[in-house]
């Protein structure tokens, strides 16, 4: 088990910064998800830790040691690629044995550890197959066994489940988590799939334009996004703009919303007269046809309704804005488009974000 620390990492391609002064620590044994749109720098960071990218400035430390001058082959990292990057001319067993053989391990040890690794990913019996003769999920398992068999200090996963279909992906998420826990290896993975990041990670970091926008436990980042980008990228969010009219004695702020109506919410150091941007998750909004508008309750008109099995998505026009909300299907039936409705929420669900 190892810690990985990145300090003040900068990497520029031409004039564009892929990494713009990134500092972060990956703790021992944790599964850390790097999340962001393509070109946000998450893959560059992963490749810098692996040694494929050399930083313009800053350091990568593994267990406190600067690995800047250490070539890839000597870093003792395990890496799994999106397309698995298996050696097509080698059998499953040869693929897994590769890392041990280039390290010059004795033959009996190689055979034993290859068997252990294949048993761990539940691929016993397929040793002699060539990668082409395996399904996508099986290839994934081979790639994982191959990356772990050398007992690396860090496991790096580049879009590990991106090439699998939905069902297999969910199955492999569970599997990946099980194996990662069992081995206890510090694991860093890159994904653009927010659901995958939320499901798998102990902690996540959201990247944009080469910078960390926010990092923390998945629930914390989801429930308390700090910027508009973080709120919109991780899950969905409605953004309500308004002006603070008063601060109540209990610390809650009264906000006159631009779309009409009034909100009551908690602000960080707000004062009257200030404009604020508030994020509101679609699933936190209550839709009703028989309640009154008021504080944290606005009147609107249903634009359209999309039924998607376990929930229904409503788009409701409120003032000059369209609000999206999800409603669990609790057999209450759907509200027809065109209906007048009232949307309400609890003060805790309004999260102040920076634009």
């Amino acid at each position: 088990m190892s810690t990985v620390t990145v300090t003040d990492a900068v990497k520029k391609y031409d004039a564009v910064a892929a990494l713009d002064s990134v500092t972060m620590t990956f703790r021992e044994g944790e599964l850390f998800g790097l999340l962001g749109p393509s070109g946000s720098g998450k893959t560059t960071l992963l490749r810098a830790i692996a040694g494929f990218v050399s930083l313009d400035r800053g350091q990568v430390l593994i267990d406190g040691q600067n690995v800047g001058g250490v070539p890839v082959h000597a870093r003792n990292i395990g890496m799994m690629f999106q397309n698995y990057a298996l050696f097509p001319h080698m059998s499953v067993a040869e693929n897994v044995a590769f890392g041990l053989e280039v390290r010059g391990r004795p033959r009996e040890e190689v055979a034993r550890r290859v068997n252990e690794a294949l048993a761990m990913v539940r691929l016993g019996g397929l040793e002699q197959r060539k990668p082409k003769q395996l399904s996508g999920g099986q290839q994934q398992r081979v790639a994982l066994a191959r990356a772990l068999v050398t007992r690396p200090k860090v496991l790096l996963l580049d879009e590990p489940l991106g090439a699998l279909d939905k069902h297999l992906r969910q199955e492999m998420q569970v599997e990946l988590r099980r194996i990662q826990r069992q081995v206890g290896i510090t694991t860093i993975f890159v994904t653009h799939d927010q659901e995958e990041a939320l499901t798998l990670s102990d902690r996540i970091a959201i990247f944009n334009f080469g910078r960390i926008i926010q990092e923390g436990a998945p629930m914390e980042v989801y429930e308390r996004p700090v910027t508009k980008f973080a709120a919109g990228f991780l899950g969905e969010a409605n953004f309500l703009q308004g002006r603070v009219t008063a601060i109540e004695p209990n610390g809650l702020a009264r906000v006159a919303l631009d779309l009409g109506g009034e909100a009551l919410c908690r602000l960080i150091g707000g004062q009257a007269g200030q404009t604020v941007l508030l994020a509101l998750r679609p699933e936190k909004i209550k839709l009703s046809t028989d309640s009154q508008a008021g504080t944290n309750a606005v009147r609107g008109k249903v634009l359209d309704v999309v039924f998607s099995g376990n929930s229904t998505t409503y788009r409701v026009r409120v003032g000059n804005q369209v609000i999206t909300l999800f409603r669990q299907n609790l057999a209450q039936g759907t509200v027809a488009p065109g209906s007048e409705v009232v949307l309400s929420w609890s003060p805790d669900h309004l999260v102040q974000v920076t634009p």
């Binding site: 692996a50 494929f52 070539p71 890839v72 082959h73 000597a74 870093r75 003792n76 990292i77 395990g78 890496m79 690629f81 999106q82 397309n83 990057a85 298996l86 050696f87 097509p88 001319h89 080698m90 590769f98 890392g99 280039v102 390290r103 060539k130 990668p131 082409k132 191959r146 990356a147 050398t150 790096l156």
Partner: protein, 288 residues
């Protein structure tokens, strides 16, 4: 389903038909005529009627000089192929994995350039380079004035130089194609697993490029074994090959049947070598 199948078959026929028709007319028919000719007791140019015989094939067995020529030809083919591999493979590797963008195009142009010049002119130009007092000689004497006079023309190395020059592009192009098909992530995976450059090349890059190496070798070995022009112009008497003997039977001795028999024996030998190597090659390339 059946209709779709039928349409498919029609499409395949329409797409491959012209090529196969052309191959039939230009290769299969003349080759069959030549095979028939090799069993005749008189040249087809002679007005008397000819009868069938095996004597030309018997002559090859009875006269060791032709067997020797065959061995030399096969050896020349092997030497030229290996030289092309040694020179061409690193170039292909650089083109596929190191050089990018416009430079790659420029380098490719230089690789393909020999194809654009006439083979005869190309070969004769080598005589000016390799003859005593020629360009190669002068160049060496600029660097080392005391070196003995270089006399490469009409020697075995001169033949190899000429043939390698002609066939090198095949090796570079076929190796390039299979090398650039290797995904960079496979190479990165090997490095992340602890492989240094040597192990990376020996165990991953080279085995994965074998299809290109073998295709290039076949494309070079076959014509190099049968070569006659380069050995004649650059090798003189020393460069005797079976190809030269075949040419002689057709153009000097006018013994077409014997020339035909020799060329089919050569074809047979080359086919046997390819067949013998095929199973091993197939096994090495499994999964690619």
């Amino acid at each position: 389903m059946a209709v779709a199948d039928q349409r498919n078959r029609g499409t395949i026929l329409a797409l491959t038909g012209p090529a196969y028709l052309w191959l039939t007319v230009t290769i299969f028919l003349p080759l069959s005529a030549m095979l028939y000719c090799s069993f005749l007791d008189k040249s087809p140019l002679v007005p008397q009627p000819a009868s069938l015989t095996l004597k030309h094939y018997a002559a090859f067995i009875e006269r060791p000089v032709y067997q020797q020529l065959m061995l030399w030809s096969l050896e020349l083919g092997a030497v030229v192929t290996i030289c092309c591999l040694i020179i061409g493979y690193p170039a292909a590797l650089a083109l596929a994995k190191v050089i990018k963008g416009r430079w790659r195009e420029a380098m490719f142009l230089m690789v393909v350039l020999p194809f654009w010049s006439n083979a005869l002119v190309r070969t004769f130009s080598w005589t000016m380079v390799l003859r005593p007092g020629g360009l190669a000689d002068q160049a060496i004497h600029v660097v080392a004035p005391d070196a003995p006079a270089l006399n490469l023309l009409y020697s075995y190395p001169a033949v190899v130089v000429g043939l390698v020059h002609s066939y090198l592009p095949y090796m570079i192009l076929t190796c390039y194609i299979s090398l650039q098909a290797i995904d960079d992530s496979v190479i990165e995976a090997a490095r992340s697993l602890g492989a240094r450059s040597g192990a990376l090349f020996r165990r991953v890059v080279f085995p994965m490029s074998l299809p290109g190496v073998l295709a290039g070798s076949a494309l070079i070995f076959v014509p190099a074994v049968g070569s006659f022009m380069e050995p004649r112009i650059l090798g003189g008497a020393k460069g005797a090959t079976l190809g030269m003997a075949v040419e002689e039977q057709f153009t000097v001795t006018a013994n077409w049947p014997f020339g035909a028999a020799l060329s089919f024996l050569m074809l047979g030998a080359v086919l046997l070598i390819c067949l013998a190597l095929y199973p091993a090659a197939r096994k090495r390339m499994e999964g690619l």
